[in-house]
């Protein structure tokens, strides 16, 4: 943890040297940070390691921390063309991403609910800067406003709850359990609402497709890859700390979440923008994560972790590919993007793999996550078998819909037929890293 801080300071010092040294220095710094964060996985004390009172790290934290560093690094790699080559406010961009990474890493490792809350809100500022600063359309102002207002207004009840607990209980430390039987349902709703909007479940998701559509590729990748995971992580922590199991409220939110997941998956086919489709698909996946947490089982929590990591990698990959496709076609409309298999076979292969992973094809992490979540959801109630089955089917449907619509058919004549070699190295690096994380995940699971 300390070394992460050191590295970020050193990176800041690097900014004095020229822009390209700075850019690639930061990228290599990310690789270094990623490797160091992998070391954290083998903590000698077993499940949790502590650094003083301030930080506490268990398997939830360190896997999400590694994910954060990986996805932020990849997002910088993905915007080499948009930002570094175009000299589009490079230094500011790097600092936004770097600050966001540091905030998120702290967010995933702090030990107190109040600190978590502060970091949770703080992370909005850099992502807002990225969306507003490097987005493409004027509509990004509205999208930013939606994102900010939805998440901030929904998390205010949580702040009140935290301060109440702090006053009455004296501590909001993770490991410490606060027990309160009064107003259980209200507490559950207050504690969940912030994270339900962040996750988001269907109904509170309006900010997400808007933000994704308007964000630059780095913004989309970070948003889908990490920021949504803050919701799942927060839910796990809050549930553990406040031990909220008001059964009726939980059941209600459970049903709304799973049903909403199905609706979101169906809304996917009504989209005509590649990015909006991917955004809705993540709403569907995140509803399963919600189910895993609310089922309050070991399987559910582990499955939720696996699903969050897997979805973070897969959806950020999809957004990256969407931006690559955009570079060739200069549009993201599903009616115009056709015939990628003829034009850019390498990218088409990546699309195929990523779509297969998105629909949870074996042996991806998504499948194991989905299986565990399915088991935990069914343990809550067998009735949910129907919902889970339909959602599994629909995830295959929209993934293949996306693939076949964009990659199959006749390529429009106006598309630039340029194959850029440098992108292939990018794919190579990213897949290598993703593969590494997958292997490390398996190792972690086998150690448990």
């Amino acid at each position: 943890m300390f070394s992460l801080g050191v590295i970020s300071v050193m990176l800041a010092l690097l900014s004095g040297l020229g822009q390209s040294v700075f850019w690639w220095g930061v990228l290599w710094g990310y690789v270094l940070m990623y490797l160091i964060s992998l070391v954290l996985w083998y903590s000698s004390v077993g499940l949790a390691g502590c650094w003083g009172n301030f930080m506490i790290v268990d398997n939830f934290s360190f896997s999400l921390m590694s994910l954060t560093i990986l996805v932020s690094g990849l997002s910088m790699l993905a915007s080499v063309r948009d930002v570094w080559k175009m000299e589009n406010k490079t230094i500011e961009f790097v600092f936004s991403v770097l600050i966001l990474t540091v905030i998120l890493v702290y967010c995933f490792s702090v030990s107190s609910l109040l600190n978590f809350y502060i970091m949770f809100e703080f992370s909005l500022i850099p992502i807002l800067l990225i969306i507003l600063g490097w987005g493409y359309q004027p509509e990004r102002l509205q999208a930013g406003k939606y994102m900010l207002l939805y998440t901030v207004s929904a998390s205010l009840p949580l702040l009140i709850l935290i301060s109440m607990v702090l006053v009455s209980g004296g501590s909001v430390f993770w490991g410490w359990k606060f027990l309160s039987s009064e107003w259980g349902w209200l507490m559950t709703i207050c504690a969940s609402l912030a994270f339900l909007v962040k996750l988001p479940i269907y109904g509170f998701h309006l900010w997400l497709p808007k933000a994704h559509v308007e964000a630059p590729v780095a913004g989309s990748m970070i948003l889908a890859g990490i920021l949504l995971k803050l919701g799942g992580y927060g839910l796990v922590r809050v549930f553990y700390t406040l031990s909220l199991f008001s059964s009726l409220t939980v059941s209600g939110i459970f049903c709304l979440g799973l049903g909403g997941g199905i609706v979101a998956s169906m809304v996917c086919f009504a989209q005509n923008d590649v990015k909006a489709l991917v955004a809705y698909s993540s709403v569907g996946h995140m509803s399963l994560v919600l189910g895993g947490i609310y089922s309050n089982t070991e399987w559910g929590w582990l499955g939720c972790l696996l699903m969050m990591v897997a979805h973070g990698l897969c959806s950020s990959g999809m957004f990256f590919l969407a931006s690559e496709t955009y570079k060739f076609y200069s549009t993201r409309s599903l009616y115009l993007v056709k015939g990628g298999l003829v034009l850019i076979p390498g990218v088409a292969l990546c699309w195929f793999l990523v779509c297969a992973i998105n629909m949870a094809a074996p042996p991806s992490l998504n499948l194991w996550g989905e299986l565990m979540l399915g088991i935990s959801v069914l343990s809550y109630s067998t009735v949910f078998a129907l919902l889970t089955g339909i959602m599994t089917f629909l995830s295959g449907l929209y993934s293949w819909y996306l693939y076949s619509v964009t990659q199959h058919g006749q390529c429009p004549l106006w598309v630039r037929g340029v194959v850029v070699m440098e992108e292939y190295t990018l794919y190579l690096i990213s897949f290598l890293l993703v593969f590494l994380l997958g292997v490390a995940g398996l190792v972690m699971m086998s150690l448990l």
Binding site: C268, A270, P345, G374, T392, F393, G396
Partner: protein
């Protein structure tokens, strides 16, 4: 040079696959057969809450012989695609897909665990999707989507099965486990297998998938992918037997599919689709056999069927390729003069399909018919089954009559090629299989013979059923004009359209689903959620702000009005409270 390099790939694949098949036949069958034992190797990933996530690999008669046949057929298909796909630019991609397919099929065969069988099961669906949409046109895209979605239904059901099997704490299959939700689990497995094997509510995708290149059809949609469902049911049989209702359901669905596909095949004109429908009817027969309690006989039929059906497809592919891509039965004809080798092998495989004595189809089909008389089934079911089995002769003869014999109705200027050496070689290998396969299997694998008690009457009925189609077909062939006029069009539409299943599962469901999605998007996302969420709150706040701005604008009139309102309010309050 580059051309040669490109063409090397299928030969290498074919040689490799033939070698594997040979290895499996020689060593695998010898090892399993001589010791009469099965082996299971298991690799455990991790165990969580006392459920073991593992990858078991089973080596027994079924898996070794099935895998051997798969490799043999896919080797022939690779050799065949040398000539069939000679104009293909991305030969490497095509062969990689084929090899991925063979790999996932082998995973499916050798892994008897619900959780790791998904590797092969999902892999088959995905790779077959990529193969069906191989040609870049709308028709193959539609067929591919139908294929992958029906397969996805099967995946979803298997995932649910895995979730329910946690109750038993065991995902390995193949021995008689049972527990809570036993009936539900069995039902889900059977329905999942029915999606892969295109049984009755899910039949539409199999004929549609003929949009794939013909080598793919020969490999994927005749002998491997579609038999995956049957194979899963056979592996799961020891658990299925605990819930008879599910087996009952399976046999009924199988026999209905048999009848439906047989009738449709009698009305179809596309050469490949007739063969696809005949595959479908044979799959129905296998499912029926499992349903009435003869899983090993079903395996036997599965294996022999794989051989002669792949041969049938390769012959059809050779005809299609040599006649410059015409596969319409109304155009083809008099091929016995033009392509004697392909058409003679076509005759051979059709004859094997309808159960000519001492060809490979005879051994398994005869066992199935005998089993039907002694299994757990009712009279009606047996009658339908006999009808369906009798139809197999009729549609086989139909393939011959529309394709091989008779007059050619093509244009005046038609071009014909002869078969290349690769095609001859691959067809020869499979012909030997189609002739000898049944006999060989029966002689190495004793258990497959089964034991059924059938009276003289039953035996008589079987032989009548086997040959009555011949008589009917001759009558039909010579009186075809009279008979065809008698058919009312509604019935023939119903029968040729697979009992309207392709209409229901294609555009109807897709249309409903898409419209529902669109409506939800318009009403919820762009409608109520905006009203209750972003835009609604914005407009409420906006009107509040403008009200507050109005009150502070500094206009004397507004102040006076506000004063008056306050005054009245105060007076009312005073009046009410005092």
């Amino acid at each position: 040079m580059s051309l040669n390099k490109k063409l090397m790939i299928p030969i290498l694949c074919a040689v490799f696959l033939y070698c594997v098949a040979m290895f499996l036949w020689v060593f695998g069958v010898y090892m399993v057969g001589s010791t009469e034992q099965s082996y299971m190797v298991e690799w455990q990933f991790f165990s969580l809450c006392s459920s073991v996530w593992s990858l078991p690999i089973i080596v027994d008669y079924i898996s070794v012989i099935f895998s051997c046949f798969v490799c043999l057929i896919s080797g022939s298909v690779s050799l065949f695609s040398m000539s069939y796909m000679e104009g293909e630019v991305y030969m490497k991609r095509f062969m990689m897909l084929i090899m991925a397919f063979v790999g996932s099929m082998n995973l499916l065969i050798f892994v008897p665990s619900m959780i790791t069988i998904l590797l092969g099961w999902d892999g088959l669906g995905i790779v077959s999707f990529a193969l069906v949409i191989y040609y870049q046109n709308k028709k193959s895209l539609a067929a591919g989507m139908l294929t992958v979605l029906v397969n996805r239904v099967g995946d979803a059901l298997l995932i649910l099965v895995i979730c329910f099997l946690v109750n038993w704490g065991e995902w390995r299959i193949g021995y008689g486990m049972t527990g809570s939700y036993s009936m539900l689990v069995c039902f889900l497995v059977v329905v999942g297998a029915m999606t892969k094997s295109a049984q009755i509510p899910f039949s539409a995708w199999l004929p549609a998938a003929m949009a794939a290149p013909t080598p793919v059809s020969a490999l994927v949609h005749s002998s491997t992918l579609v038999t995956a469902g049957v194979y899963l049911v056979i592996r799961f049989y020891s658990t299925l037997i605990e819930s008879q209702e599910v087996l009952w359901f399976l046999s009924k669905m199988g026999v209905l599919t048999l009848l439906m596909a047989g009738l449709s095949a009698c009305y179809e004109v596309d050469l490949k689709k007739i063969i696809a429908l005949s595959t479908l009817s044979q799959l129905g027969l296998m499912m029926f056999t499992v349903g009435i309690g003869f899983p090993l006989v079903a395996v036997f039929h599965l294996l022999t069927h794989a051989l002669f059906k792949a041969l049938l497809f390769l012959c059809a592919g050779s005809i299609i390729h040599s006649t410059m891509d015409s596969q319409d039965g109304r155009i083809l004809g008099s091929l016995n003069y033009l392509l004697p080798f392909s058409s003679s092998c076509l005759v051979l495989s059709s004859v094997a399909l309808c159960g000519m004595p001492f060809l490979s189809g005879f051994y398994s089909k005869d066992l199935i018919l005998e089993g039907a008389f002694s299994g757990f089934s009712g009279v009606l079911e047996i009658v339908i089954m006999l009808m369906g089995a009798g139809l197999s002769l009729i549609y086989s003869l139909r393939i011959l009559l529309v394709g091989v014999f008779g007059q050619s109705y093509g244009g005046g200027l038609s071009m014909y090629e002869t078969e290349s050496g690769y095609v001859v070689c691959s067809i020869c290998v499979l012909s030997i299989g189609a002739i000898m396969g049944g006999w060989l299997l029966q002689s190495v694998w004793v258990e497959v013979n089964g034991f059924s008690l059938v009276g003289v009457f039953g035996k008589l009925v079987i032989s009548v059923v086997t040959f009555v189609g011949l008589f009917y077909s001759f009558v039909n062939f010579f009186l075809s004009k009279i008979l065809s006029k008698k058919n009312p069009s509604g019935v023939s539409w119903f029968l040729s359209g697979m009992w309207f299943m392709n209409l229901a599962s294609g555009s109807f469901l897709a249309g409903v689903g898409l419209k529902l999605g669109k409506t939800m998007h318009l009403c919820l996302d762009l409608g109520w959620m905006e009203v209750l969420g972003g835009q609604g709150v914005f407009s409420v706040l906006g009107s509040g702000v403008s009200l507050s701005y109005l009150t502070q604008k500094g206009s004397l009139l507004v102040y006076i009005r506000m004063f008056m309102v306050m005054l009245i309010f105060l007076m009312v309050c005073i009046n009410v409270f005092y």
